[in-house]
């Protein structure tokens, strides 16, 4: 039951992804062609609000509901994997017009063919786990 709150927040995130049009293949094309501010505005604003929120949390030492100290760890810097992996994902993002969050949202939106995109992404994730020890990190 304690996970139910994440279902609620996820639902809110799905509504937001859809109504912000971040799920739209057209919007992603527009972004990678630098022809509108829309996506840059959304991502930029989200980063600024995220930064301010974390500064506020730190300044007032706000604890989480379960009493833990909030201090999210930075992901380890792995130059090669961050860059190459990011590049590979970027290719897929521009092809399908979706990043992982929108894949789920689009299935809910009724574009059922994105179940195939999700399945392919799961296979990609599994293949990564199989060969990761041979990849530069």
């Amino acid at each position: 039951m304690k996970n139910l709150k994440y279902l609620v927040i996820g639902t809110w995130f799905g509504i937001l992804l859809t109504k912000s049009e971040a799920v739209s293949w057209f919007r992603i094309q527009e972004m990678f062609r630098f022809q509108a501010f829309h996506m840059y505005g959304i991502i930029g604003m989200a980063v600024v609000v995220g930064m301010i929120s974390l500064l506020v949390i730190k300044k007032f030492k706000i604890k989480s509901l379960n009493g833990e100290k909030i201090n999210p760890a930075q992901k380890p810097l792995q130059f090669k994997s961050n860059l190459i992996g990011g590049f590979v994902f970027g290719l897929g993002w521009a092809l399908t017009g979706a990043c992982p969050g929108p894949i789920y949202a689009l299935i809910g939106n009724g574009l059922m063919v994105f179940v195939v995109v999700l399945t392919a992404a799961l296979i990609g994730s599994i293949v990564y786990d199989l060969i990761k020890k041979h990849l530069p990190h």
Binding site: L16, T18, F26, E30, I52, S64, A121, L122
Partner: protein
Amino acid sequence: MESLLQGHWPWYITGILFGLIVPLLLFVGNKPFGISKSLKDIASLLPQNRFHQIKHDLKPNFWRIYFVVGIIIGGYLAVLFLKGNATIDLSNSTKSDLENIGIVSFDGLAPSQIFNWEFLLSTKGLLIMVLGGFLIGFGVRYANGCTSGHAIMGLSIFSSSSLIAVLGFFAGGLLMTHILFPLLFN
């Protein structure tokens, strides 16, 4: 109110609301915002065999399964009640660029001529949806994060790994949009 919610949500509102998901997840359960690892979570639920063995402690990650199921529900509700699949007010220059590579309809969230079951079975459809999905899954795991985990969460905490990953996202996206996709689609 209802018509306001059903109309277009401006980027400066949705941007703020996206950003607030970061402190919300931290506050309710000290969870870092991110979606890409859900692929590993789901993959670890599948039956394991000699070729598919994932060492993954699902218990501390199980919340993410609820989160992504929520995203599907949210996507459904947004279309059902909030006109979430209304036609996008796309810039004219993007429209004419896309018309030049053969996109004919701009209705809905994604071109219906591409994202349908019949087109999936064509070579181009397979490349776009199956190869595209594979590249997403492989890439986000290799990069250790996606748009939410790296671009929004990671940049919010000034993570240098996230900055490099985001540069990678854009390098790949620009190459695909400007060079590979026109070759593929013409």
